[in-house]
Symmetry: C2
Subunit: 204 residues, 2 copies
């Protein structure tokens, strides 16, 4: 990695941390430049605009997510175990990736709801790509006989995101000690299993 | 209503609209004073601080929510129809209450995740109160034989919030035309009914 690429990586690591704590709107060039020990014009030379910095930060967060949440599925047994693994890693992925605060993608959803532009477009595409990954895992679990025949992967993926969102709310905001147990019971119900089966075997 | 109370109501209506569009952090005294045609010191006399204004705005939004989402249940048949009615009204309550933008409570969740203080405390209490309402409706639906015996009201309420959150994401952020159909199918599954039963009767 050349010096330029190393500097860029340093900036983006700090930028993802900033987004986890205060959202993408908090990604201003001056405080970020201060944080990584650069001048604002030096940082400007790397990205050119706040929007370009936000998009690059999203890309960097997406790479971390891919590496931490999705990629490990390859070494898990095919079917439901892979889907469960992805869901479990998704639940606390910022902490597992060494990030402070909360999922930056959920922060982006609130910030760019009504703001058309490059950041929103990129974030929508990230969610679509991940939903497609989940749908493929669901379809595979159906083929392996781990989920009921006729399960609609799109509907299942929608409901899985619902559980992740509620977990974000219950654990991150409400600080509910029962959050994880509720989320896992809901996953078990979604997968068509009794909670007892789950406790005995499946989800870690 | 005296002049002071009328002025306060005018300010809070504008404040809730502002929170729907830009969150509670966007509730600054100066722009809000400009919007309602007051001086900043005149507005300051009503609330004293930005935090007090944010809490009062939350209270006002909670009153609207109660009136628009919860109160109409009283005139619905007891049991599942009331629960369904509350859920359906919850889905698009800001628009039905004449508000622009999105649910201000969900905006607050992201903004006050890590910010301890009066606003966070009030918002946590609002969610707890509403969850209690939902749990009572679930328990009633169980007693009426509309939901499976043994249904856990706390778990059901958690999963209902999950569906509402996913709806917020799918409709508000992803602008997915299938959002409402997915949400209603998920509700039907949660209530233990086949989607066809739902289409034929229950949810509007």
């Amino acid at each position: 990695m050349g010096k330029g690429a190393r500097t860029r990586a340093t900036i983006l690591t700090a930028a993802v941390e900033t987004a986890c704590l205060g959202g993408f709107d908090g990604l201003n060039l001056k405080p970020l430049a201060d944080r990584v020990g650069m001048t604002k014009s030096g940082l400007y030379a790397h990205f050119g605009s706040k929007e370009a910095l936000q998009v690059a930060t999203l890309e960097h967060a997406a790479e971390l997510f891919q590496a931490r949440v999705v990629a490990p599925a390859k070494t898990e047994p095919a079917g439901l175990p892979r889907l469960e693994g992805v869901f479990e890693r998704w639940l606390d992925w910022p902490a597992n990736a060494g990030l402070p605060g909360n999922c930056p993608f959920f922060a982006g959803v609130v910030e760019f709801d009504d703001c058309d532009g490059a950041v929103r477009e990129r974030l929508v595409r990230l969610f679509r790509d991940f939903r497609q990954v989940v749908e493929q895992l669901v379809a595979s679990a159906v083929r392996h006989g781990h989920l009921r025949p006729g399960t609609d992967p799109g509907q299942f993926a929608h409901e899985l995101l619902a559980l992740r969102y509620a977990h974000h709310w219950a654990q991150g905001f409400m600080r509910d000690p029962a959050a994880l147990a509720r989320t896992q019971a809901a996953f078990a119900r979604l997968a068509g299993r009794a909670p007892r089966e789950l406790a005995a075997g499946g989800v870690r």
